[in-house]
């Protein structure tokens, strides 16, 4: 009987603590029932393009402390689920998409979990964020991305052909949303290093310290930091500011800060080289961009493509001035290409960065093969004749255009 009463009391206390714990996030820390919640202090309130912050505080004795850090700035994350479902044996083909993923998110776990974390890192590409959270005991600390609004679309073959994302499925419940948000965290941040760190030193007296290192090249703005021992015992959030200044610039859609001179000179070099070798720079540009900077492949593909519009347009204008293009041929094939161009961008978000790199690897090998063929003696001699005819025709065309102008 005594045990039962004790149980009842503890349930009652918990019931009181749950809302109080939740409210403490906004309210003052000294509210009733929050006595057990961890406290938190940080040694500075701003950093410049990354830096380290010492976090200290106290938590209930004997409990592990987890520190959750996230940025206010948000980015998009998406994941296409085409893996066979263990229960039904079918492939779901569902696209999960959120625009509310924090541009920076990381959970710091106690230092004694370092071995477990190293194990997760060794799993390579196949690591699972939800399993990692469980293994590290950090499940309870995971909260912010779980609240992101996630849309899901049922993709169909027909839908992909006509280039739609598919039917919007009903909103998921909180539990499912939480589970899917973990997959989106992995899809967005890719490496365990980016979202997990074993840095918290918990002392026997309940005090803890952690040195939190924020990398360079992350989102500027407000960062929030909370210490948690379990789901309901969370400290009030503290904030610090990550400042960046010129020549660093934040790409809001990509969620990355970078030195503007980097992409500028890379583009310049590749554009020159592209013209010299007679191929657009996009081939080299895109794989380099996703390899050098932590940029999502969707943003890279979607932003590099319009940069060539101008050069293509001016090329067409120059050729059309001397009537050196066949409109019938160009427009006919062009119309077929319009359909392809309608479908392609839709497919970009269905693949992961790893798949993007893999396919690009093969495309480049094919391209290298084509280029190599163009350096073989047989091709060169044939090409010489072709180029001579090309020059002759071009000259004629230019003369004709010039004569018309005079007349």
């Amino acid at each position: 009987m005594k045990q039962r009463i004790a149980l009842l009391i503890s349930i009652f206390v918990m019931a009181v603590c749950i809302p109080a714990g939740g409210a403490s996030a906004a309210g003052p820390p000294d509210a009733a029932g929050v006595a057990a919640a961890p406290t938190i202090q940080i040694d500075k309130t701003s950093i410049d393009n990354g830096g380290s912050i010492i976090v200290t505080g106290t938590a209930p004795v004997g409990k592990p402390v987890y520190i959750e850090v996230w940025a206010d700035n948000q980015v998009r994350a998406s994941r296409f689920d085409a893996e066979v479902d263990k229960d039904t044996g079918k492939r779901p083909y569902v696209l999960y998409l959120t625009n509310e993923m924090p541009a920076y998110y990381k959970i710091f776990v106690p230092k004694d979990q370092k071995e477990n974390l190293d194990k997760i890192k060794k799993e390579g590409k196949k690591w699972s964020f939800s399993k990692a959270l469980k293994d590290l005991g950090a499940d309870a600390a995971y909260s912010v991305p779980a609240k992101a609004k996630i849309d899901r679309y049922q993709a169909t073959l027909m839908g992909s052909i006509i280039g739609s994302r598919g039917d919007l499925l009903p909103q998921m419940d909180d539990k499912e949303n939480r589970k899917r948000s973990m997959q989106l965290v992995k899809a967005r941040f890719v490496n365990p290093d980016k979202v997990l760190g074993a840095e918290v030193v918990v002392n026997p007296d309940g005090s803890y310290t952690a040195e939190i290192k924020v990398r360079k090249g992350l989102t500027p703005g407000k960062y929030n930091i909370v210490a948690a021992v379990d789901k309901n015992l969370r400290s009030r959030p503290l904030t610090f500011e990550n400042r960046i200044s010129f020549p660093l610039i934040y790409l809001s859609n990509a969620g990355t800060s970078l030195n503007i001179f980097g992409p500028f000179f890379l583009t310049l070099a590749i554009a020159i080289f592209g013209v010299l070798m007679g191929a657009g720079g996009g081939f080299i540009m895109n794989p380099l961009l996703v390899s050098i900077w932590p940029l999502p492949h969707t943003i890279v593909a979607g932003t590099v493509m319009p940069t060539v519009l101008f050069s293509q347009g001016s090329g067409i204008y120059n050729y059309s001035k001397i009537k050196f293009l066949n409109w019938k041929l160009g427009v006919t094939i062009g119309l077929a290409m319009v359909f392809g161009g309608f479908i392609g961008p839709k497919l970009t978000e269905l693949i992961t960065l790893a798949q993007f790199k893999f396919v690009f690897g093969w495309i480049l090998l094919i391209l290298a093969g084509l280029m190599f063929w163009q350096t073989t003696p047989g091709y060169i001699s044939k090409n010489k004749k072709e180029q001579a005819i090309l020059k002759e025709f071009k000259k004629k065309a230019e003369e004709a255009a010039g004569a018309k102008k005079k007349a």
């Binding site: 809001s252 990509a254 503007i260 500028f264 890379l266 310049l268 554009a271 020159i272 592209g274 013209v275 010299l276 007679g278 191929a279 657009g280 720079g281 996009g282 081939f283 390899s291 969707t298 943003i299 593909a301 932003t303 590099v304 493509m305 319009p306 940069t307 060539v308 519009l309 101008f310 050069s311 001016s314 050729y319 050196f324 066949n326 409109w327 041929l329 160009g330 427009v331 094939i333 077929a336 290409m337 359909f339 392809g340 161009g341 392609g344 961008p345 970009t348 690009f360 690897g361 093969w362 480049l364 090998l365 391209l367 290298a368 280029m371 350096t375 090309l390 025709f393 071009k394 065309a397």
Partner: protein
């Protein structure tokens, strides 16, 4: 389809041209590159057209794809305006500088360097090293 170009007539296999163009457009817009190096061999080798017909017309065909691909990427939120504003001037500037250098280097050398560079980059992407 018959194509007339500066007094010469060429027979073109439209089905092959359109199908090839369609597939190249899907891949190139998906991965965000132009597609010229694939279109030119398609039209010269696949359709049997001489280079002087292909240079301008392939550019025209690709332009359709780039225009559509750009609009669709924008629609799906894949366009980052700040990033674009960094790269765009560099691409234009490159277009002006390149012809100055082109006069001084042999295209064959450039192509050979490109082959080596492309293979290296490809192997890196495929995780070979």
């Amino acid at each position: 389809m018959t194509v007339e170009f500066w007094g010469h007539e060429f027979k073109v296999n439209v089905i092959l041209g359109c199908l090839g163009g369609f597939l190249i457009a899907i891949v190139s817009s998906m991965f965000g590159f132009g597609g010229g190096p694939f279109m030119v061999p398609l039209m010269t080798v696949g359709l049997g057209l001489p280079m002087y017909v292909v240079v301008g017309s392939s550019l025209l065909a690709i332009f359709f794809n780039t225009l559509m691909g750009t609009a669709r990427h924008y629609q799906f939120g894949n366009f980052d305006p700040v990033f674009f504003l960094i790269m765009f001037p560099a691409a234009i500037l490159g277009g002006f500088i390149a012809p100055q250098i082109a006069k001084r280097v042999s295209p064959l050398t450039v192509k050979r360097i490109a082959v080596a560079g492309l293979v290296l980059l490809a192997l890196n992407l495929l995780g070979v090293y």
